[in-house]
Amino acid sequence: MARKITYQQAINEALDQEMARDPSVIVMGEDNAGGEGSPGEMDAWGGVLGVTKGLYHKHPGRVLDTPISESGFIGAAIGAACNGLRPVAELMFVDFMGVCFDQIFNQAAKFKYMFGGKAETPVVIRTMYGAGFRAAAQHSQCLYSLFTHIPGLKVAIPSNPYDAKGLLIQSIRDNDPVIFMEHKVLYTMEGDVPEESYSVPFGEAAVVREGDDVTIVALGRMVSFAQDAAQALQKNGIHCEIIDPRTTSPLDEDTILESVEKTGRLVVVDESNPRCSMASDIAGLVAQKAFGALKAPIEQVTAPHVPPPFSDALEDLYIPNAAKIESAVSKIREYG
């Protein structure tokens, strides 16, 4: 039996093992070394929530503190990747990504295409996303669909500790820029994780649960909500199949389509705002390629089209949950 560690420890272990394996892997970000509240170099803070803690001393000279200038250090990480390093940059909250869209969207994502396929940009940008931390509109968004939209970027969204380690190792070894989305509420989630190194391939969805009645495609933190809903629905004799795409770019279309061919019903659960989201993208995919199999309209369970609220009560209403998934499943079960 693999031992149980947290999602946060799994990410730390992936970084540690890859840094030990490959001297070209470096880590950079705000407060990765030192930082407010830490005794400085004696015990580096390890980023805002301590994910990279312990790496500073284990890998001297390869964990870099950066100024609070995302546009600067993300650009530097991309440049370093073009010059032979494999940087893993930590951009605290995905909400701050906007200031470096040119570096990411217009430079890193384009190099391979602009230079005849000869340029490689093996950079990983790790970032926290998601609501549930009482952190309000500028620190709670769920923006993976923005990056999924851009050709040339890969996007990984681990939903559990095992995938967090395996997808991060795969991200570091990948020769394209990868946006690695970590849900801050999942950091304390525990799960079985092998001590040995392993990689989880991109573009291969996990079938989290098998069932014949309804397909639920869920992303990131939503996977465990979908599991709770499926468990409850089973008591009423409704068997849900849960698909966790794990990466949205590339997206494992086949696994989703095969499942819907079997069940004829689809609920997509996405913590993002609904317009131009993964929910609408996957719903569109299924409507186009598995229309004949559908027995009911596709349901999307998402946040509403408003920024994440600061009020606790409103934030709780904003985030999709198991009850909302259950009622979406029940609704399309009752349809015709």
Partner: protein, 370 residues
């Protein structure tokens, strides 16, 4: 009251804390003989039937299809005809009132696999049972100690039973050296030396069977008896497409049909079984290890090593078990029974016969070891 027997959710493997009821195989009121399959249940890993430990009549079905209940919880009641309904109801009520599901803490206190270093090489094993009578369980190509999930505890009731992960497998070191049978055999002998096991009954499945035979050939004094389950080393035939496909397959879509070849009843290939196998195959070094082993032991769809003479030369008892519907190594490789050699062919069972017909295999081995 003594004629009222409770059927409870079995515990198949360390990680099982609850099981799902797949359906009753006997109707209420059916007559039951010892060993009859009464109800099918499913753990995360695999589905299997619960056998009747006693004869009688199935008087109560406490659970129904799709129920998920903890290990040890009540499935049903078997009792003789003359036992009154009131007595049975009292027994059920009593059981339900006193049942405490096993807690997480108790789980952790149970037997857990151990990792040791032998000459710098990590080896994982799981020991169950006590006493001097030692048994070694050695899994096959691509397997691990969990292949004995349904057998380990049963065999350990009267013995000290070790299941190990061979090099290249499970959580043991992934380096397999030249991948030869001798190298693997050396590691098993090293394991016995390290744990102070002078001699043991060796139980090997598939490639593990060939290792047992080779060990018996090289160090006969270390082997008390041999149990060879769907064993390699007894003929040239092997399903080369399976071996090659298994080595190279890296995703669910290609792996699942291959794993289905291991079982006669393909319903046993659960989502979790496929997922666990993928998790193993993703570990660094596993594909290289499997390639090396397959290239050395099963090149071009044939078994490279035949140990028939070793089987004939081994002067102690041998039990050979095979699934009649084995699609990996044909049951026709089983030797002719007679003298020191007993043979049990279980019709309609596949290569993973120790999982697929666990109760029967356990009984055969238990009787054989005495």
């Amino acid at each position: 009251m003594s004629q009222i027997h409770t059927l409870t959710m079995p515990k198949w493997g360390l990680s099982m804390s609850e099981g799902k009821v797949n359906g009753w195989l006997k109707e209420l009121g059916d007559g039951i003989s010892v060993g009859d399959e009464v109800v099918e249940v499913e753990s995360e890993k695999i589905a299997g039937a619960v056998e009747a430990p006693v004869a009688g009549i199935l008087r109560r079905q406490v659970v129904s299809e799709d129920d998920i209940i903890p290990v040890g919880a009540l499935l049903g009641v078997i009792a003789d005809e003359e036992v009154s309904d009131a007595d049975i109801d009292a027994k059920v009520e009593d059981f339900l009132a006193n049942f405490v599901p096993p807690s997480e803490d108790q789980e952790e206190g149970g037997p857990a696999p151990v990792k040791i270093e032998i000459e710098g090489q990590r080896l994982r094993y799981l020991k169950r049972g006590e006493g001097g009578n030692q048994v070694l369980l050695i899994h096959g190509f691509g397997g691990d100690l969990n292949n004995w999930l349904f057998n380990h505890e049963a065999l350990a009731a009267k013995r000290e039973v070790f299941a190990l992960d061979l090099p290249g497998h499970g959580e043991s070191v992934k380096a397999v050296g030249d991948g030869s049978l001798d190298t693997l055999t050396d590691r098993v002998i090293g394991f016995m030396d390290t744990l102070g096991i002078e001699s043991a009954h060796l139980v090997g499945h598939s490639m593990g069977g060939a290792i047992c035979l080779n060990l018996a050939k090289r160090a006969p004094s270390r082997v008390k008896s041999l149990v060879l389950v769907a064993s390699a080393g007894l003929g040239q035939d092997i399903n080369g497409d399976y071996i090659g496909g298994f080595v190279e397959s890296q995703d669910r879509r290609s792996l699942k049909p291959l794993l289905s070849e291991l079982f006669a009843d393909t319903n046993l290939v659960t989502r979790q079984l496929v997922e666990d196998m993928l998790k193993y195959k993703r570990l660094e070094g596993v594909t290289d290890a499997l390639r090396t082993l397959a290239g050395k032991l099963f090149p071009e769809g044939r078994q490279a090593v035949t140990l028939r003479p070793a089987l004939d030369a081994f002067g102690k008892p041998i039990l050979v078990i095979w699934g009649g519907a084995d699609q990996i190594i044909p049951a026709s490789h089983a030797p002719t029974p007679g003298g020191r050699v007993q043979v049990g062919v279980l019709n309609g069972k596949g290569h993973m016969v120790q999982m697929e017909a666990a109760n029967e295999v356990n009984r055969l081995i238990d009787d054989f070891l005495g």
